[in-house]
Amino acid sequence: MSVSPEDFRFVSAFVRDAAAIVLESGKEYLVETRLGPVAERSGLDGIPSLVRELRRDRHGALARAVVDAMTTNETSFFRDVGPYQHLRQSVIPALIDARRADKRLSIWCAAASSGQEPYSLAMLLREHFPQLESWTVQFIATDISQAMLARCRNGVYSQLEVNRGLPAPLLVKYFQKKGLDWQVDERLRNWIEWREFNLVGRAWNSLPKFDLVLLRNVMIYFDVETKRGILANMRRVLRPDGYLFLGTAETTVNVDEGFQPESAHSSCFRQRAA
């Protein structure tokens, strides 16, 4: 997906006006790598179409998604320490306690992106909850992008990527050196079931019921109506006592009153009793 000089000039001017970001000549790759996925998620067939839409509406959901994509740092392992701490200290122990009779757990990372989030959660589970080895754990990770899923399945990360957020003891334990890059251990890669899934599509019935869903840093791409639709579907696939995690800047408040944030952690949500 390449960007024409004219589109690059437009995007540069747009993000400069919207977010005071300066994109100098030579940063075309940033526009390509960051806005390509935005175009894909928005159902557009490439950056030229995205720019056309952006020229038409400079203040809508797409414009926000563009600004966000250009301002957000790349994802990293254990991005934001808080949610992982809450998972380790509260959520997973509570789920293990609640499901101890049938020893089954189902987990969904709903916006796998380049895979750091599902792999971080997988490492957290392996490290701190070894009793799950004898459980039936269904661990599904989805993304709308086939290219991203291929990357996830492959599990290869650059040195710069493993330098960010990944504790060195976990690097040694769960990765192997592959040339200059690092590849996630085969056991973890095969543990996770990677599936293509469009959150705004109609395939929600194909999903099982989940105890835990991570839907982090993806709702920002959608307008309120779309968020409502996704959260209504989420209430159907999340077990009544399940847990939903959103990104630290995202909330269900004023979007879907069927959910309420946990007092202990504001990006963790539970369903209200019917």
């Binding site: 740092n73 990293s76 320490v81 040195q159 710069l160 493993v162 330098n163 960010r164 957020g165 504790p167 060195a168 003891p169 690097l171 040694v172 990765f175 192997q176 050196k177 200059l180």
Partner: protein, 125 residues
């Protein structure tokens, strides 16, 4: 809080000093492991140490082993910051007592992330 930076490269010492100062640390520099041990013996009391591997006199690996055999510095959080990027070396550094490992090249964000992993949440300067 005081951070000890041990690296024989003046450029790396300057870069790390700038990053750590931005995070609210005071920085004490040493040019190799022996120099760092001398500074500790002289009374320096850092909250963490960032240590290169390949240095003259005493390399980072030897320095960390020396720290871990002395009760005074056994629990000092140490992060290795090095161009050594083979998994065996990461494992070796951790086994010797390094708490974290950062491969060069690095960005300020990476340093900050690693400090967070060590439970060191510096105040933004």
């Amino acid at each position: 809080m005081l951070a000890l930076v041990v690296d024989d490269s003046a450029v790396i010492r300057t870069v790390l000093t700038r990053i750590l100062s931005g995070l609210g640390y005071e920085v004490l520099s040493a040019i190799h492991g022996r120099d760092a041990l001398n500074k500790l013996e002289a009374g320096a009391s850092p909250a963490l140490a960032l240590v290169d591997w390949n240095m003259p006199e005493m390399n980072g690996y030897e320095f960390i082993r020396a720290l871990r055999t002395d009760a005074r510095w056994r629990s000092l959080p140490v992060m290795m910051v090095t161009t050594e990027t083979e998994i065996e070396q990461v494992a070796r550094a951790l086994a010797a007592g390094a708490n974290e490992y950062l491969m060069k090249p690095f960005t300020p964000e990476m340093v900050q992330d690693k400090l967070a992993l060590l439970g060191l949440s510096p105040t933004q300067g």
